[in-house]
Amino acid sequence: MNRAQRYHNMGYVYLIPWIVGFLVFQLFPLGYSLVLSFYKYPLLGEPTFVGVRNYVKMFTTDPNFMQSVRVTFLYVVLVVPTKIIFALMVALLSNMSVRGVGLFRMLFYLPSIFGSSVAISILWRSMFLKRGLVNSLLSLLGVPAFPWLTSTSLALPVVASLQVWQFGSSMVIFLAGLKQIPTDYYDSARIDGANPWQMLLRVTLPLLTPMIFFNVVMQTILAFQDFTAPFIVTNRGGPLHATYVLGIHIYNHAFTYFNMGYGSGLSWMLFLVIMFFTALIFRSSRRWVHYES
């Protein structure tokens, strides 16, 4: 072995922390939860093998599973496109070269710093109460009050709006992408007589597709797992399970009823759903994501 090769093999040493962490805190839990999903395992009892009975139970005797799947899908569909269109729109608008737009961007990102923390979820809950800020604003416009948090059709959009409000990090990614588009593309489009609208559709958007793709993937994965907002804003997924996302269902079974086997089965189900949709987005990306050669 020559000296250079010996130097490069030192690379393994630097990876040791990650290899340990990967095996202990990622690979092992992933495999262990798959195994557990075939067991009945009350935390204080012994695990007993039950085959696929946990998975059968989801679709037959668990009354809330299908509801939570429905709510989760609806939630993802409400959150992801709205958030990304919003982020894209604001990024395009604030990409104008006007001085001071920097502070705008800084403030647009501010809600993302607070994330869907408990404090912000509390803010959302208080805003949408019967006499909360939103209804007070509406009454100024002469609009009657809505029962935001107690209506089964309005509660989920309210929770979703909290996510959309945090479009900041997607926006920053779009802005970084916009900065990378060479200005001579626009110059030559202008020479060819393109109007601003055509430039947006033919130059900007195609060149932004890699960022759109990245944002769609990441936001979809996150939205499927969302927990804090529906847990706090609408008090554990209420009213009448209208915001009862899969995350809450998993939490209830694993950490309220302490059914570790069934909880693992549910979380693997969520994992499979996420993998399926991520794969779908990846597959479709060949058609619409434009990579510069």
Binding site: Y7, S117, V118, M127, V172, V217, F271, T278
Partner: protein, 304 residues
């Protein structure tokens, strides 16, 4: 002080830019930019108004919080702060802040150190299996936390770590937050390899290359990791809800949840005052370091 002046210069530039923007917007043939300006201002109001309302409401008595759209309290009171600070779960609120820091600071340190080291291994060495390991690391970025939490809970229970902060600290020191490795790898790739080569010719071993050349040049990126981790751990609710269960060890997120989990009898002015207390640390951190956040998101997002 320096940051202060920066901020006021920015505000000035914004006001100035705003006025020039309006002038050009109202000038002839500029309808597009007038519309874009108005849209941006509306979005800005939607982003900031709820936060200001929260701040204002924290100084209102409960009956004034509801039914009012005003940010400025009619009757100014700090009772919410006093009662909220003293009255949650037999401890003063400062205890929960202390707990959060006790949990978050070693976690931040672990993430910064471990990802700086591991990313060095990925970015600067050619060894067999590197591509495969890197791909594995990247794929764990997409691994949902929800699927890991049940077995991790059982693992921590077996190790006797439940209800301790080790559940966060140990994974951080073993680089189990792949986002930060990724961020650091992206950053290291932008540093010329010639730096390593010449240091090696001068007789540095690989650890000296890392500690004397790479780390000093990467302070900004390492700091960005720390800031992200601070904000994420500070805001995290799901994991602490699962792992931490005695009130004396509660971080801020769980203490806040206690205040609202009391049925119909929510003391809104206490709750809102403590919510303000809970968002002040991340807000301050952002105000002073926002450039690192924005650059951090942009670097990782871009090349992903």
């Amino acid at each position: 002080m320096k940051v202060d002046r920066n901020l006021s210069a920015r505000v000035e530039a914004t006001v100035h830019g705003f006025i020039t923007g309006l002038k050009t917007a109202f000038g002839p043939g500029n309808r597009v930019s007038l519309i874009s300006y108005s849209v941006l201002v509306v979005v800005l109001i939607v982003q900031i108004y709820p936060l200001l309302w929260l701040l204002g409401s924290s100084f209102k008595p409960t009956q004034e919080i509801f039914g009012s759209v005003s940010i400025i309290p009619r009757e100014f009171t700090v009772r919410g702060y006093i009662r909220g600070w003293l009255g949650i779960g037999n401890y003063v609120f400062g205890r929960y802040i202390y707990n959060t820091l006790l949990m978050v600071l070693p976690t931040i340190a672990g993430s910064m150190a471990s990802s700086a080291v591991v990313a060095f291994g990925f970015a600067r060495f050619n060894f067999r299996g590197r591509r495969l390991l890197f791909a594995l690391m990247i794929s764990t970025l997409m691994l949902p936390n929800t699927v890991l939490i049940v077995p991790r809970y059982l693992l921590f229970r077996m190790l006797g770590w439940l209800d301790t902060y080790w559940t966060f600290i140990v994974p951080a020191w073993t680089a189990s937050y792949p986002f930060f490795i990724f961020l650091m790898v992206q950053f290291y790739r932008g540093l010329p390899r010639e730096l390593d080569e010449s240091a090696r010719i001068d007789g540095c071993n690989s650890f000296q290359v890392l500690s004397r050349i790479i780390v000093p040049l990467s302070r900004a990126a390492i700091l960005a990791c720390g800031l992200f981790q601070f904000v994420w751990r500070w805001n995290d609710f799901f994991n602490v809800l699962v792992y931490i269960n005695s009130v004396e060890k509660y971080p801020v997120a769980l203490a806040l949840r206690l205040t609202i989990d009391v049925g119909a009898n929510v003391q809104w002015n206490n709750v809102i005052a403590m919510s303000v207390v809970a968002i002040v640390p991340p807000a301050l951190m952002y105000a002073f370091t926002q450039r690192y956040f924005v650059e951090g998101v942009a670097t990782t997002g871009l090349k992903g």
